[in-house]
């Protein structure tokens, strides 16, 4: 049985049914949301297992057996195309979304309008899953809009706080402009090549690389760098993450900036454009942005006094590593160095999704229990909230890249490949990590310090908040125990599959 359609059907049905389920009461809608995300996680795990075992690209045509029309060599319908990279990211999305929804059941208990909240969070998940699995350019845009609009509403969800509304407006204005850049790029590509299917478009671009294609790529890269929060355009992120509810920050930072940003960028650059353009130039452009992002993001994290803002800037910095891996993968296309860099970028995406989700959930627990996220008021939490502090310790160690945690292996792959590629880039990567280390050590000392007055009557949060955190801690530790196994068996094959644009094209066109 092909489980692929249920990946969209289940969460979409869950979201559309929520207004009605919500009538049954508060408990019912929480249970419904948890159930729906749990089923989605099950479907995603099944899909990942199928793709991983089978080792080939799954193609699914909506509405017909074959994507090609009768008697013509080009696709006329929308296709889904799931390779190992997409399957991996689908699993990551489903897992973090499940954890965030479970966490919300207690974390959001003081808020109103929760049936809309759960509907929006399910729609956010639908949008991200749709982006990861689609093989159609306009369909990608539609699902990116679903994800973005749900994102804008969720960032501003606490409408009685001034920062929520401000961040929501900022995110919406900037995000809409970025979306229209992407749409403009898609329009140009359609006007020039007459098709919207990514695989066929890749073939057309390879046959006839035009100036229009380059301009379209430029517009797409510009829009997607916006969405991923790379440095010249990271300001929305630094406001959106602190203002959003923490369960949403976890999804924004862990998933949205990666699926709508770096994943889409890698998909466009490798699967669609790599056969027709000079990958070296594009690679160097991305590396340039990556280096600036690394330094600025991590350096800004050091000077923050707001805990969630610190994590937000740290997310910007980590996006730098992912972009660096992707950029080197493009610039050294086809070589071993490029392959390892790309594998490192994919690995780091998954790792950072888990780690940053954990860190934001920890920040949420602290805010929920103490009502402040100012680091200067938070000293000595470790005495009163030991489990939360332990989760933070694991998350901080993992994000810096200490060896027993999962962050080590992925960063190592990126360091190693960047050192082989260009030593200067490696130096920049290490400087970025030094800043990141400083930022997290500072928070750690705050947690471990002498308990301040404010902290004295703090307690641990309830089970519904602790279990998601411990789940993420368990994933971090387990992934940290088998780093090279994971990288050899999953990440390097995923990188190879992404680099092999020919296989991506023939999967849809059937060898034509």
């Amino acid at each position: 049985m092909n489980v692929l359609p249920y990946l969209i059907i289940v969460p979409l049905f869950g979201a559309f049914a929520l207004p009605m389920v919500g009538l049954a009461g508060k408990k019912a809608r929480e249970l419904w949301a948890v159930l729906i995300t749990a089923i989605t996680l099950g479907v995603a795990a099944e899909l990942f297992y199928t793709v991983w075992k089978g080792g080939e690209i799954i193609v699914y045509t909506l509405g017909a057996e074959s994507p090609l029309g009768q008697g013509v060599p080009f696709p006329i319908r929308i296709v889904w195309e799931v390779d190992l990279l997409a399957a991996l990211f689908i699993l990551m999305v489903a897992f973090v979304a499940f954890v965030a929804v479970l966490y919300s059941t207690e974390y959001m208990s003081h808020d109103t309008g929760l049936e809309k909240y759960y509907a929006l969070i399910l729609l956010l998940e639908v949008g991200m899953l749709g982006i990861a699995m689609t093989g159609d350019l306009f369909n990608f845009y539609v699902f990116m809009e679903i994800m973005s609009i749900a994102g804008y509403a969720l960032v501003a969800f606490r409408n009685d706080t001034w920062e929520g509304i401000e961040a929501g407006i900022k995110y919406m204005f900037v995000g809409s402009i970025a979306s229209s850049f992407i749409l403009l790029g898609i329009v140009l590509l359609y006007g020039q090549y007459g098709t919207l299917t990514m695989a066929y478009l890749a073939k057309m671009i390879a046959e006839n690389p035009t100036f229009t294609a380059k301009v379209a790529l430029g517009l797409l890269i510009g829009g997607l760098l916006f969405k991923s929060g790379a440095v010249p355009v990271h300001m929305w992120l630094a406001d959106a993450h602190p203002a959003a509810p923490s369960s949403i920050s976890a999804m924004l930072s862990g998933l949205v900036i990666k699926i709508g940003g770096t994943y889409a960028l890698a998909r466009m650059a490798f699967s669609v454009f790599s056969t027709g353009i000079d990958t070296k130039t594009v690679g160097w452009i991305i590396i340039l942005f990556a280096c600036v992002t690394l330094i600025v993001g991590n350096a800004m994290a050091v000077i923050q006094t707001d805990m969630k803002r610190l994590f937000a800037f740290s997310s910007v910095g980590q996006i730098g590593y992912i972009l660096l891996g992707t950029g080197i993968g493009l610039a050294a296309y086809g070589s071993d160095v490029g392959n390892i860099a790309l594998a490192g970028a994919i690995y780091h995406t998954v790792n950072h999704a888990v780690i940053k989700a954990l860190l934001f959930l920890v920040a949420g627990a602290v805010i929920h229990q103490l009502g402040t996220k100012n680091l200067n008021e938070l000293s000595g939490i470790a005495r009163k909230m030991p489990v939360t502090s332990f989760a933070f310790l694991i998350g901080a160690a993992a994000i810096i890249g200490l060896p027993p945690m999962n962050g080590f292996a992925s960063k190592w792959l990126i360091y190693e490949s960047s050192a082989l590629f260009n030593p200067l880039v490696a130096v920049i990567a290490v400087i970025g990590t030094a800043f990141s280390l400083a930022a997290y050590i500072r928070v750690l000392f705050t947690f471990l310090g002498r308990p301040s007055e404010r902290v004295m009557d703090a307690r641990e949060p309830g089970k519904a908040m602790l279990v998601p955190m411990l789940l993420l801690v368990a994933v971090i530790i387990v992934m940290g125990l088998f780093p090279w196994f994971i990288s050899d068996r999953i990440m390097i094959p995923a990188a190879k599959m992404l680099e092999n644009a020919g296989a991506y094209i023939t999967a849809v066109l059937g060898g034509a």
Binding site: I78, N139, I149
Partner: protein, 100 residues
């Protein structure tokens, strides 16, 4: 200084798009004859096969509800999301409810 830079960037982008929109260097307008088949082959397919494959005589609805029906589902979802978002953000503040 930022504003000047932004204006210059917009000007540059406009120039590039004008080059793209000129028929000799980029996208062609008013396609016909051979060029129609070269650039709009999918449209030709929808026109030729739409009636027999889908059954409707309106090609646009054939496309948006059959060939690309999934996009329409996505657009409906976008609307649902926008409404859910607007309703969620326009709900009364928490403080007001406590007073009631």
């Amino acid at each position: 200084m930022n504003r000047t830079f932004g204006a210059l960037a917009l000007l540059f982008l406009l120039g590039v798009l004008l080059v793209v929109a000129s028929p000799s260097t980029g996208i062609k307008f008013g396609l016909g004859g051979d060029e129609w088949m070269k650039y709009r082959y999918t449209d030709q397919y929808y026109i030729e096969h739409g009636v027999e494959e889908v059954g409707g005589t309106n090609i646009v609805t054939n496309i948006v509800f059959d060939y690309r029906g999934y996009d329409t589902l996505g657009e409906a979802t976008v609307l649902f999301t926008a409404i859910a978002g607007a309703v969620a953000l326009l709900r009364p503040w928490r403080r007001d409810e406590d007073e009631e």
